[in-house]
């Protein structure tokens, strides 16, 4: 069941429009609607300052200047938009759910991605997909086309984003199960960080992948053609597996920490809102400020 744009919007409806915190905006500066609390190009009034030689005549605010003897120039707030690039994992391993009432990981990832995009677009930011879009787009139209793209099947999609040219100082959000060798994930994070991209990793896992509830004789079959494993008594493997998963997470978190990235863990049996809220806080840097 593909996730629609409306579902994404509905999920984000409880949150205010997301304005991405940015010390430095991406190099692909586009004019946005939200002030950056500094002087620059924009529509909103920022301050009056005395006319200095060299200022353009048309910059003088005559009404203000008529109140006194000096000439004043009207300055406007610099309004620009940050661009956030998304990666939504659509590989074979995402098409999994352990129980019928849970969503698949791919559905949950798509929902999170759409909700985030919706929040960003409502906040006036620009959104793009790593590997698909060179620049970010604004407007609800992009949300719809994103939902369309996510609902179409995609053959042999990679788990992690391919190396791509991202504009400097943009943000990246990678949503997926991150079940790749730790080195691959670390390489991705480091590569992007080297390009000046800050970002967030969202690891979406099914509860069965976290808890490993299997018992008895099982033949485990991988979802991406990575073979099968016959286990006589699965329960004997549970502890070892959970330790291995914890180690995997730890390695990824370390790599992210080194690059200044954050990692958010999410299970499909938990509500999507909690993960979306964590993403919101991380992107808006509210958590850091608060």
């Amino acid at each position: 069941m593909p996730v629609s744009a409306l579902q994404g919007e509905a999920l984000g409806a409880g949150l205010p429009p997301l304005l991405v915190a940015a010390d430095r905006v991406a190099a692909t500066v586009e004019q946005g609607v939200h002030g950056r609390r500094r002087v620059g190009l924009g529509d909103s009034f920022w301050q009056f300052r005395p006319y200095r030689a060299g200022d353009e005549i048309r910059g003088i605010d005559w009404r203000q200047s008529a109140r006194g003897d000096r000439l004043y120039v009207r300055e406007r707030e610099w309004e620009a938009a940050q661009t956030v690039f998304l990666w939504i994992d659509r590989s074979g391993s995402m098409d999994f759910r352990s129980q019928a009432h849970l969503p698949t990981k791919a559905e949950r990832a798509a929902l999170l991605g759409l909700a985030l995009a919706s929040l960003l677009i409502r906040g006036g930011e620009r959104v793009g997909r790593i590997g698909y879009d060179r620049v970010g787009y604004a407007g609800r139209g992009y949300l719809l086309s994103l939902a369309d793209a996510l609902s179409l099947p995609e053959a042999a999609a990679p788990s992690l984003p391919p190396p791509a040219e991202l504009p400097r100082d943009c943000r990246a959000v990678v949503i997926g199960d991150l079940l790749r060798p730790e080195a691959e994930v670390a390489a991705l994070v480091e590569g992007l960080a080297a390009a000046g991209v800050a970002g967030h990793l969202v690891q979406v896992l099914d509860p069965a992948e976290v808890d490993f509830p299997f018992t008895g004789r099982n033949r485990f079959i991988g979802l991406e053609g990575d073979g099968a494993l016959l286990v006589g008594r699965a329960e004997t493997l549970a502890d070892a597996y959970r330790a291995r998963l914890a180690a995997h997470r730890e390695a990824i978190e370390q790599a992210a920490r080194r690059a200044g990235w954050t990692v958010i863990h999410h299970r499909t049996d938990r509500p999507a809102e909690s993960c979306l809220l964590a993403l919101y806080l991380a992107l808006a840097d509210l958590g850091r400020r608060g």
Partner: protein, 902 residues
């Protein structure tokens, strides 16, 4: 067949396959169930783990046990286990099965067939050839020698066998055995009926000549019962019951029924252990006795336990032509006095002037000492005789003076005095009655002397017309046919003036014989014409249509005709004047089978043999299904939720629970018919189906639109919502006092309860519950705790007979049981009787299944019409319960209209 205690095997060699069980155990143990296939995205992480070498998993022990049990059950099931295996037959060669299928076998026919079945099964299993012989004649012609049958034919023939409503003919059967070739029979199995027809010894001798004979008999207490000839007595009908063998006490109910099957009278009697027969009198008031057409034994189902009655048993009405005369002067010696006293025990005597008698002609008109019939009445009297009436005339002084010619013989004028003071002759006595006279069998008493008589003119046919004469040869009673009727003349007076005849008991007997000839059904009136069959009894005593092969019977010979294939018992003649041909084994002639040399007597096995093979196979199949589920579960293809869903589906597939009391709001908002939940599942299901059928009929036909029927627990549910409660009496249900108190207050508050004893053997007693049947006793026990007002059978003008349909009968599954209502229903309840009590099992007649098809067969012969009438009664009852005496008010409509007109 090999036996192992109480269990035998029909194919014991199959048990050898049990030796393969260890191999199965080894195989099953070695091959573990297939692993569960699990999709797992994080396989990469798993692959990174260091793999330990697992011991190969073994099949769980309980699964091995399950599969071994399964294999064992299949093997045992195929080996054909039989519980209580029948004893092996002793003889060799073809088996001759002789079945007595006469009337005596009918009443325990089922038991007889059940006793035969295991022996046939054993013979079939042994693969022996078989011959079947039935000893009751089945049609015209000689009995055929029993042919060889295949077992399929044999089973079909035995299943289709029905007892015949006539006796067996073992002599013909023995003759037919002579046609068998040598060696055609190795052993004989004889299912007898326990009654000797005089040829049993000869028949048995012939059978023993063919080979060993086993006679299969029923245990004591099953001897066939027969009814004798009923006779009319003052207070009812007397009838004899007999059996061939006094084989234990029997509790019998004799029922006298009318044409519609309604029970008019009954008598419960206990036949002692040593008694072969008994004579029973069924008490019946005269007016009911005339309506009896059938007497039967409720406990027996055979043609001999049914006695059909025709006009011969009907009381005649006798009109005594009486014009006044000397009655006032000499009341105790008048002719009318003697005649009335003599005939009233067996006839309804009406004393009236001849003119008024002729307006509504009785069966017999008696003219004592009337010489000349008034000319004005003569044509009417003649036509009465022509049409079949009986005219009985007595001589007397007036008659002797001048007699007319409405007489059987010509009479000389004047009378003849015998033994007077001036005469040498002695008063004459009556000569023995000739055999061809209607009085044959009566013994004339020598004390009866005749002093005066009138004499007949000699004529050629005088002798033929004389029924009785004096010792000197002069006729005393002459008779002659005239048209369809009969004129009888007694040549002496009806009182004691001329003879002592009127003072003797012979007078009553003679009059009875004469009166019995009336109504066009007399022996002399019945000539040589043939009576076609009208309705015949079958072997079980059901009166049905004309039997196949039944032919006409000569009217004169009907009393002596022995029932047979051409003349099955039943009614013959035309519907207006039918005659009963009785299956009349003379009770005195009933004899048990004698000891037959060389015949082994066997009783049926106490425990019938049961083939266990199918059960074992079914159990194995169930285990296989369970094994499949287990395998699927172990393979991960069946989630526990699926199992739960299967279990829930299995639960839901159970037959629906009966309706129970419903929410008060719904109960008050819609009309619901309600029944008492008795706890007996069958009864409750029938009540529910019955009320459902009645509700459907109400919805279709009336503006009453009831909801689903509701089952009520009397001790807890609120009763006030329901206008009508149906209460089937069942032994399983004994309401506690609190429940009875509730139902009492329910009825007093205006509710209606239909008590259904579902029991037709309730007689037409003076009280509901007066009979001795179980239903009656229950009803009595229940009503004893209720405040029951006086009850009456439903009067003809009761509101129940007209509240929706116009009805006079209230049939249910049974017809004819009386319906009782309150005699004076209280005006507070709109005159509605809270008690409606009857035995007719209405729910069964109303009951329909989900498709609207009737559920239960009806007992009467009404069929669809009876069901319809039952529904109409139900509709009337519901309307009655809902509208009260509204319809009763309609009787005032003419008066109101009249007043309006003024």
């Amino acid at each position: 067949m090999s036996a192992l205690g109480a269990i035998g095997f029909s194919a014991p060699w199959v048990l050898l396959a049990l030796a393969a069980l260890p191999a199965i155990w080894w195989l099953v143990r070695l091959i573990p169930p297939a692993p569960r296939q699990t999709r797992f995205p994080a396989l990469r992480l798993l692959l990174d783990l260091e793999q330990r070498h697992d011991t190969p998993e073994r099949t769980p022990w309980w699964l091995i046990l399950l599969r071994l049990l399964l294999a064992g059950l299949v093997v045992v099931g195929l080996a054909g286990p039989v519980l209580n295996p029948p004893p092996p037959g002793s003889g060799e060669g073809p088996l001759l099965v002789v079945i007595d299928d006469g009337w005596a076998a009918a009443s325990h026919w089922r038991e007889r067939m059940a006793a035969l079945a295991p022996r046939l099964a054993a013979a079939e299993a042994a693969g022996r050839p078989v011959r079947l012989m039935t000893t009751a004649p089945a049609g015209e012609g000689d009995m055929q020698a029993p042919p060889l049958l295949t077992w399929a034919e044999m089973k079909g023939a035995v299943a289709a066998l029905q007892p015949k409503p006539w006796a067996v003919d073992r002599k013909a059967a023995a003759d037919a055995l002579d046609d068998l070739p040598e060696g055609a029979v190795g052993e004989t199995l004889w299912l007898d009926d326990g009654v000797d027809d005089g040829a049993a010894t000869d028949f048995a001798t012939r059978l023993t000549r063919l080979g060993p004979v086993t006679r299969l008999d029923l245990p004591p207490g099953n001897a066939a019962l027969a009814l004798g000839m009923p006779t009319l007595v003052d207070n009812g009908l007397e009838i004899g019951i007999g059996r061939a063998l006094a084989d234990g006490p029997r509790h019998l109910t004799l029922l006298a029924r009318n044409e519609e099957g309604q029970v008019l009278g009954r008598d419960i009697m206990d036949l002692g252990a040593e008694e072969v027969g008994a004579s029973v009198t069924i008490d019946l008031p005269p007016e009911l006795r005339n309506k009896v057409t059938r007497i039967d034994i409720a406990e027996e189902a055979s043609a001999a336990a049914v006695r059909l009655l025709d006009g011969r048993w009907r009381r005649r009405t006798v009109g005594l032509a009486f014009e006044g005369g000397d009655e006032d002067i000499r009341p105790l010696v008048s002719e009318a006095f003697y005649l009335e006293r003599a005939m009233s025990p067996f006839a309804d005597v009406r004393r009236a002037p001849l003119a008024s008698l002729l307006k509504t002609p009785p069966s017999v008109i008696v003219l004592p000492d009337v010489g000349q019939v008034p000319a004005a009445l003569r044509p009417d009297l003649e036509s009465f005789v022509e049409k079949g009436g009986l005219l009985l005339r007595f001589a007397g002084p007036r008659f002797a003076a001048s007699a007319d010619d409405l007489l059987p013989v010509k009479i000389r004028q004047g009378d003849r005095a015998l033994g007077g003071a001036l005469s040498w002759t002695e008063p004459a006595t009556i000569a023995p009655f000739p055999l061809d006279s209607p009085f044959a069998g009566l013994a004339p008493s020598p004390e009866v002397k005749v002093y005066r008589q009138v004499l007949a003119e000699p004529s050629l046919d005088l002798d033929k017309r004389t029924w009785a004469r004096l010792t000197d040869g002069t006729p005393l009673i002459t008779a002659g046919k005239r048209g369809a009727g009969l004129i009888v003349l007694v040549h002496t007076s009806a009182n004691s003036d001329w003879s002592g005849l009127a003072l003797s008991g012979l007078y009553v007997d003679l009059l009875r014989r004469i009166v019995d000839l009336s109504d066009g059904e007399s022996a002399t009136a019945a000539g040589d014409h043939m009576l076609p069959p009208l309705a015949n009894l079958d072997g079980f005593g059901h009166l049905g249509g004309i039997a196949k092969g039944a032919g006409p019977v000569a009217a004169a010979a009907i009393a002596t005709t022995a029932p047979g294939p051409r003349t099955p018992p039943g009614y013959y003649g035309d519907p207006a004047a039918r005659r009963a041909l009785a299956l009349a084994p003379e009770l005195a002639d009933l004899a048990p089978l004698p000891d037959l040399p060389g015949v082994v007597v066997a009783l049926p096995e106490a425990a019938p043999s049961v083939a266990l093979g199918p059960y074992a196979i079914v159990l194995a199949l169930l285990l296989a299904a369970l094994d499949l589920l287990v395998a699927l579960r172990l393979g991960g293809r069946l989630a526990p939720t699926t199992l739960a869903a299967l279990a829930v589906a299995a639960l839901l597939l159970r037959p629906g629970a009966p309706a129970v009391a419903i929410e008060a709001g719904d109960a008050a908002g819609t009309i619901h018919l309600a029944y008492v939940v008795t706890g007996d599942a069958e009864t409750d299901a029938m009540s529910e189906a019955g009320l459902r059928g009645l509700s459907t009929a109400l919805r279709q036909r009336t503006s009453v639109e009831p909801g689903d029927p509701v089952g009520l627990a009397l001790d807890s549910d609120e009763l006030a919502f329901y206008p009508l409660i149906y209460w089937p009496m069942t032994e399983a249900y004994a309401p506690d006092p609190a429940a009875l108190e509730r139902i009492d207050s329910y009825i007093k508050a205006g509710g209606v309860v239909l008590f259904d004893t579902r029991d037709i053997t309730q007689g037409a007693g003076a009280m509901p519950g007066g009979g001795g049947s179980p239903g009656d006793q229950l009803l009595q026990a229940t009503l004893a705790h209720l405040d029951v007002p006086p009850l009456v059978p439903v009067p003809g003008d009761h509101v129940l007979t007209k509240s929706f349909y116009l009805l006079q009968t209230f049939p249910g599954r049974y017809e004819g049981g009386p319906l009782w209502v309150e005699a004076n229903a209280s005006p507070e309840n709109d005159g509605v009787s809270g008690y409606v009590i009857g035995p007719n099992d209405w729910a069964a007649a109303w009951a329909v299944d989900a498709q609207g098809r009737p559920l239960a067969a009806l007992d009467g012969n009404g069929g669809g019409r009876q069901r319809e009438m039952a529904l109409r009664f139900g509709i009337n009852l519901v309307i009655y319960a809902l509208t009260g005496n509204y319809k009763a008010d309609q009787v005032h409509v003419p008066a109101l209209l009249e007043r309006l007109g003024q």
